[in-house]
Amino acid sequence: MARRAQPISASPGVGAALFVAALILGTLAAVALRAEAGRGLGASDWAALRFTLTQALLSAVFSVLLAVPVARALARRRFPGRSLLIALLGAPFILPVIVAILGLIAVFGRAGWISQALGFLGFEPLQIYGLHGVVLAHVFFNLPLATRLILQGWQETPAEHFRLAAQINAGAISMWRLLEAPMLRQVLPGTFAVVFAICLSSFAVALTLGGGPRATTIELAIYQAFRFDFDLGRAALLSAVQLLLTGAAGYLALKAARHDGPGAGLDRVLQRWDGQNTSARLFDLFWLLAAASFLLLPLAALLVSGLPGLPLLQASVWWAAMTSLLVAACSTVILLCLALPMSAAVALGRRGGVETAGILGLAASPLVIGTGLFILIYPIADPFALALPVTALVNAIMALPFALRILVPRASEVIAGYGRLGLSLNMIGWPFWRQVFLPRLRAQIGFAAGLGAALSMGDLGVITLFADPEVATLPLQIYRLMGAYQMQAASGAAVLLLLLSMGAFWILDRGGRWHAED
C-alpha cells in the first residue's frame, strides 16, 4: 500500500533511537578497545566466570522448579486474595534489590528469625553469605517471574482441553501427561533462559551477599578492578567477557522464548474440574502458603527491624534520600523523552531499527555501560563529578525496554484510531502530540514513569563505580551502612527506600490513571 500521510513525524523517535544506540554501542566499543586481551584471564577471573555460571544455573533451576507447583496451584484454585497474590508476584520487579537483601538477611541471616528459632532447638545459625545466599536472593526475585510466565502458559491452554480432560475423568497423572507436560515443554525453556540471563548480570546481589575468592561474579570483579585496583584495562577485559556472556544468554533467551503473550488477564480464573480431591487441595495450599511466606516474610521482617529506626535516621541518610529522589526524577524525564518519541516512531511503522535500539539496553549490563562511560569520560572530565547525571542516564537506558513495551501497543492504537481524524482536522505535529497522543497515552505514560522512577530509585549499579565518598544515593548509603555493620540504621534506611520507591511508583501510576477515561 502506498505510504499514508501521518499527523506526527517519526524523526524525533528515530533520533532518540540513534542516540541510545550510539551511547550503548559507543560504550561497548570503548570497552572493547580498552580491554587488554593480551593479558588473558587470571586464575581469579576464571573462578569468577565459574561462579557466575554456577550461581546463575542454580538460581534458574530452583526458580523454575519451584515455580511449577506454585503456578499449577494458582492456575486451578480460586480463593480470596488470589488476584492480590498474582499482583504481588509482579512486585519484585520494582522492589529495590538492597531492600530485599536486608529483608532476606533479617529472615535467613545469622541473627535472623530462622537462625534464632534454630538456636532455641540447639542448632547452629544459618550462614547467608556466599553461594547459597546469592542463589536464595535470586530465587526470591525470579521465582515470582517464573511463576508468572508458567501461569501464562496455563492461561493459554484452551478451555476445551480442560473440558476434554474432565470428560475422560483424567486423574493427576493423565492431567500431567495430557496437558501440563506439553505446556511446560513449551514454556520452561524460555522461562529458564530468561531467569538464567537475568542472574548472569545481577550485580547488587553479588555485591551484598557474595564476595571473597569463592563467591565473586564477573560483574563484582569488574567493580573490584575499578574501585580497589583502578585497573581500567582489567575492568574492560572483564566487561568484554560479561558482554559475551549476557549477549549469548540474551540470544538464547530470545530464541527459547515463545511469542510474547499479552501478559494481561493473568488473574482470569479458568474453569477447571481436575484436582478436586483432598490431597491435591492440601498440596496446592502448601505451595501457595510457602510461596506467599517466602515473598512476604522478608518484607515483614524488614519492617519489624527497620520501622523503629526510621525516626532515628542520620542526616546523611536523608541527604542520600534527597539525592535519590533527584536522580530518579531526572532519570524518569530522560526516560520519557526517549521512550515517547520512540514509541511514536514504532507506531508509525518504523519498527525494526527503533525497537532494536530499545532492547540494546537488555544486552549490555549497567556495569559494562558504566565502565565504558568511565573510559570515555575519564580523559576529558572528572567522572566522579558526573556520578549523578551518569546514573540518571544509565538508569533511563535500562528502563527503556520496559517503557517501550508499555507504550508501544497503546501508541499504535492511538495512531491507528485517531491519526486519520487528526490529519483531516489539520492537527499536525505539536497539536496532535498535545491534544491527542499524550492525553490518550496518559495511563501508559504514568505506568512507565512509575516503573522508571522506582527502578532508578532502587538502583545499586553504576553509582557504585562513579560515586566518591561525598556522594551517595539511598541504596548506596544503605550498602555503606551495611559495610559498617550498622544493620539497625541500614534497615531503617531500607524501609525509607521501600516507601520512597513504592510511593513514587504508586503516585505516578495513579496520576496517569486519575480521571482517565475512554
Binding site: A5, R420, S424, N426, Q435
Partner: protein, 230 residues
C-alpha cells in the same frame, strides 16, 4: 466542480478507476455492492489514500498533492469521529483551531454551532456522557465550523437506529443546503439515498461510474447494482 481525471485508486487489495465530475453544490450518494470500493473513493477524495494515477480537481485547482487537512473536504468516518478525552465543545472547536487555542469569539461560534445541531449547553460533556445520536451531532457541529466546501460521509450514522439515522440525514441535508457545500455520502440503504441525494454514483466492477440522477439509478439499476439491491 469536483473532478477526478483518469484516476486509479489503490487500496492495497484492489484498484478502482475513476473518471467523473460532479457539480458544486450537488448531493451525491455513492452506491454499490459491499467491498466494491465506496469507502476507498471517499478516502481518495479526502486525501488518506494517494492516487496511483490521475488527479483530483476542485474548481480547477489540483488537490492531488494536498494533505487531508489542507483539502477543502470535511470527512466523517464510520467510527472514531470524536476524541474520547476531549469535551463536546473541544471536539467541535477542533474545526476552527487544531491546537484548540480558541479566542473568545471562536468559543462563541462553537456554542452557536452546538446550538445549531441541538446540543445547547452540553459543551462540557465528554463523548462517553453523550448518546450515540448526540455524538453524531457533535461531529456535525465540527463540520459546520470547518466551513469546508465538500462534505464526505463514510456511513457515520450506520450504528444508529433507523429513526435517529433519518434525523441525522435531515440535519446533514439542512447543513449542506445552508452552506452550499457539495455532499458525497456512502450509502447502503436506497431509502437514505433517496432521502437526501439528487445524484447517484455507482461504484462497481472496479470502476466509479458517472453520476446520474439518484432516482433513475435506483429505479432502473444496472445488473451489478440490481443483484445487490435484490
Amino acid at each position: 466542480m469536483l473532478k477526478i481525471e483518469a484516476g486509479l485508486i489503490d487500496n492495497g487489495d484492489f484498484t478502482i478507476s475513476a473518471d467523473f465530475s460532479l457539480g458544486a453544490g450537488d448531493k451525491a450518494a455513492i452506491i454499490g455492492p459491499s467491498g466494491a470500493g465506496k469507502s476507498t473513493l471517499i478516502q481518495a477524495l479526502s486525501g488518506f489514500l494517494p492516487l496511483r494515477q490521475g488527479r483530483i480537481l476542485w474548481k480547477g485547482a489540483d488537490l492531488t498533492p494536498l494533505l487531508p487537512g489542507d483539502r477543502p473536504t470535511a470527512t466523517l468516518f464510520q467510527d472514531g469521529n470524536l476524541f474520547p478525552h476531549l469535551t463536546a465543545g473541544q471536539n467541535a472547536g477542533l474545526g476552527l483551531q487544531p491546537d484548540l487555542r480558541l479566542s473568545k469569539a471562536q468559543e462563541e461560534r462553537v456554542g452557536e454551532a452546538l446550538k445549531r445541531v441541538g446540543l445547547e449547553g452540553l459543551e462540557d460533556r465528554k463523548p462517553s456522557e453523550l448518546s450515540g445520536g448526540q455524538q453524531s451531532r457533535v461531529a456535525l457541529a465540527r463540520v459546520l465550523l470547518q466551513r469546508k466546501e465538500i462534505l464526505l460521509l463514510d456511513e457515520p450514522f450506520a450504528a444508529l437506529g433507523p429513526a435517529l439515522k433519518a434525523d441525522m440525514l435531515d440535519l446533514v441535508s439542512e447543513i449542506v443546503t445552508d452552506t452550499g457545500a457539495t455532499l458525497l455520502m456512502v450509502s447502503h440503504d436506497p431509502q437514505d439515498a433517496r432521502r437526501i441525494a439528487d445524484q447517484g454514483i455507482l461504484v462497481a466492477e472496479g470502476r466509479v461510474h458517472d453520476p446520474m440522477p439518484c432516482a433513475a439509478l435506483l429505479d432502473n439499476p444496472p445488473p451489478s447494482l440490481k443483484a445487490y439491491l435484490g
